[in-house]
């Protein structure tokens, strides 16, 4: 029962804040939300301590769809799920706390809705993490989609935000369809959608069916995690409030795809085809997103592309059968990505949400020391500098990549160099150099505290790698050569950024001028977004217009018009023949007859007494005549 509390707190907070938030007010709503998520964190910590020793299965509900195969819904607390749940609730708690400061200027404008959505977001993500079967996971999967739609479009007065929310929703629906088909396919293949049975049967079922199921499920992960080709929504989703971006990118929603693959890892491992596809998609995304991040100037979009790229790396690790590296990178990434977003949000907040481009600000180092420190720690962790959190997990991925093939290793190295470069580019442009925009000041305590906590996480989380490895039952090998390599990689990236943006040995403007076509290509993500707009959306519009012209205008309208014409003709004919010739004649005839008889009969009414008596006589004679005639 106490395990269920992990899920119940956020949902209760969601209901309370959602239903009573208007009465309670915005600030108490925020407090309730934070309280619920922190309680949820405490209970998931408790659950994790229990579940690490021996996994706990909590049956919830039996859902009989088919006579022989009951669908049992339940929660599963094992090492992976309980640790991820703890992490999610931990990061979420501090992001929620941070959002009190970040959203304070909007208090009094129904901001309680925001907190209700946040709770719902957390609840859905916990459902994904803790579910023991694909159906319950799918509920969470859709819940996260809905919550992200609501939150990305939270600033619904901005067209950009609503468009981004719609895009996220639609793009995710594409993935969700694949995912749903994947669930059906798994049910057909395994006869069950419970993880335990799927893990056990992974090597027994038909490999072709298994591959199809895995690929379809992975399609869902591609949509949620913003991987190529369903990636365009992720950077645009930055139109939402920053705490949402932080939540979305660090521990919920986009992490869900990676988590799902890690969760079903024994199943995916049984299908070589699926693994290959995962590696390819992960590699393409990692490289493409990293390149895109180097050329964007939006404060949050750079970090968003970084998430895509890092998720790509996680998928590479998972595709190379290294669940440990993949899931561990997911966890460390949650800390420093949340930290980076919160620091970026702090910068945006200090300029009253007016600044979105890194070149609009500069020299914030002295004005916002804590934010500067947070961002730099996050950047160091993301770049993978020893001993920050990202170093450990990225090193694992790098080592595994070189083990698998030299090509993938080089790709991961290139991505890592780019990562170090673009994140420090952002940091140096925003915090170093001359001041471009005045009025910056350090954020308030309620925003500083979560950053500080996440900073600690970003520094020290990496040391949990041996502990986590032992929990997963795997030896952690730290290879000497890849350690050196990854350090060199990080330092090269940072060095390039430092020399260009701080020392200005190379002029950034000059470079921009020379590399302009390349810059544009990267910026447009190899024109995928434009391609979707022009070809998919545009093509669809053109087909619709064509169909509209041919089918609607010519065929349907033609048919209808023909019917109308025929009907009019028929009616006119009936009017001419029936109405005028028969009905009118009849009616007019009756009228005329009545009129004529009336005029004739009127003459009898003379008013003369004598006449009346004469008529009386005539009438009496007539009536008596009749009586006499019939009496005889």
């Amino acid at each position: 029962m106490e395990f269920l509390l992990v899920l119940i707190f956020p949902v209760v907070a969601f209901l309370v804040v959602g239903l009573l938030g208007r009465r309670l007010g915005d600030f108490p709503s925020a407090i309730i939300t934070v309280l619920a998520s922190s309680l949820s964190f405490l209970f998931s910590l408790y659950a994790a301590l229990q579940a690490i020793k021996n996994p706990v299965h909590v049956p919830l509900y039996t859902f009989i769809l088919l006579q022989s195969k009951p669908l049992e819904l339940g929660l599963l607390f094992d090492t992976l799920s309980s640790v991820v749940a703890t992490l999610v609730t931990f990061v979420a708690t501090f992001i929620f706390l941070y959002s009190i400061g970040y959203m304070r200027n909007l208090f009094g404008q129904w901001t309680y809705k925001f907190y209700a959505y946040l709770s719902f977001f957390l609840f859905s993500m916990l459902l994904i993490v803790l579910s023991d079967n694909l159906l319950l996971l799918f509920f969470g999967w859709e819940g996260v989609g809905l919550a992200s739609y609501l939150l990305i479009g939270y600033f619904h007065e901005q067209r950009k935000a609503t468009n981004a929310a719609l895009e996220a929703f639609v793009m995710n629906r594409v993935g969700d369809w694949l995912f749903l088909l994947g669930i059906l396919m798994s049910f057909i293949t395994f006869g069950s959608i419970r993880y335990q049975e799927m893990w056990e049967k992974a090597h027994l079922v038909d490999p072709l069916m298994l591959s199809w199921a895995c690929l379809l499920l992975f399609g869902g992960a591609v949509g949620k995690s913003g991987q190529v080709p369903l990636h365009t929504w992720l950077p645009n989703a930055m139109a939402g409030p920053t705490p949402v971006s932080a939540l979305l990118h660090s521990s919920t929603m986009v992490a869900a795809g990676v988590y799902m693959v890690a969760r079903l890892h024994p199943v995916f491992e049984a299908s070589d085809t699926a693994l290959k596809v995962i590696v390819v998609v992960g590699s393409v995304t990692a490289l493409m997103a990293a390149l895109a991040a180097t050329s964007h100037t939006d404060i949050k979009k750079i970090i968003a592309f970084s998430t895509m790229s890092q998720l790509g790396l996680m998928f590479i690790a998972l595709g190379l059968k290294d669940k440990l590296a993949g899931s561990f990178h997911l966890m460390t990434h949650a800390f420093f990505k949340a930290l980076l977003f919160l620091a970026a949000g702090s910068v945006i907040h200090t300029f009253h949400h007016k600044v979105h481009d890194i070149y609009e600000v500069g020299g914030l180092r002295s004005k916002m020391p804590v934010t500067y420190l947070s961002f730099m720690v996050g950047a160091l962790a993301l770049a993978g500098v020893f001993p920050f959190a990202g170093f450990w997990s990225k090193e694992l991925i790098l080592g595994r990549a070189y083990e698998a093939s030299f090509g993938i290793g080089v790709l991961v190295s290139v991505v890592s160099v780019l990562t170090a470069y673009y994140i420090f580019r952002e940091g140096f442009v925003m915090f170093h150099g001359e001041e471009r925009k005045g009025g910056a000041h350090e954020s308030e305590g309620v925003m500083i505290l979560p950053m500080a906590v996440l900073m600690l996480g970003s520094v020290f989380a990496g040391f949990g790698v041996w502990w986590y490895g032992s929990l997963m039952g795997k030896e952690v090998h730290i290879h000497g050569d890849t350690v050196v390599l990854s350090l060199v990689i990080a330092l090269v990236g940072i060095g390039v950024a430092y020399s260009v943006y701080v020392k200005r040995w190379l002029s950034a403007e000059e470079l921009y001028r020379v590399l302009r076509p390349l810059h544009t290509t990267f910026r447009e993500q190899f024109f995928t977004e434009r391609f979707y707009h022009k070809t998919l959306a545009g093509g669809y519009m053109r087909i619709s217009k064509g169909l509209h012209t041919v089918w609607e205008r010519v065929l349907i309208d033609g048919f209808i018009n023909l019917l109308a014409l025929l009907y009019v003709k028929l009616v006119r004919f009936l009017w001419m023949k029936l109405d005028i010739m028969v009905v009118d004649l009849l009616v007019n005839g009756v009228a005329r007859f009545t009129f004529k008889t009336g005029r004739t009969v009127r003459n009898f009414q003379t008013g003369l007494l004598n006449h009346y008596v004469a008529f009386l006589l005539a009438g009496m004679v007539f009536i008596f005549g009749i009586i006499i005639k019939f009496m005889r």
Binding site: G607, L608, N610
Partner: protein, 100 residues
């Protein structure tokens, strides 16, 4: 020809001549007189019939008719005089108010 038949013939003659008078003559007074003639014709008929059948109802009816005729003459004469006073004419052809 029995005596009753002769009475009936005279009664019919009286009634028809009264009727003819009402239809043909214009003077209002004459009309009233003609009406009286018809009533008396009918009275004679009643009494003759009574005699034929051997009852008394006819005689009672004729008494009623006499009473009604007397009152009718009183009222009718009054009407005629007042019409003459008001409108200044005495011919029935000029009274066409019933037409309106």
């Amino acid at each position: 020809m029995t005596i009753e038949k002769a009475y009936m013939l005279i009664s019919i003659f009286l009634f028809l001549s009264g009727l003819l008078g009402v239809i043909i003559r214009k003077n209002l007074i004459t009309l009233l007189v003609s009406t009286e003639l018809m009533l008396n014709g009918v009275n004679l008929g009643f009494v003759a019939m009574d005699r034929m059948v051997g009852g008394v109802e006819g005689q009672v009816f004729s008494l009623f008719v006499l009473a009604v005729a007397a009152s009718e003459v009183a009222v009718g004469l009054g009407l005629v005089v007042s019409i003459f006073r008001l409108k200044g004419y005495e011919g029935s052809s000029e009274i066409t108010h019933l037409r309106d």
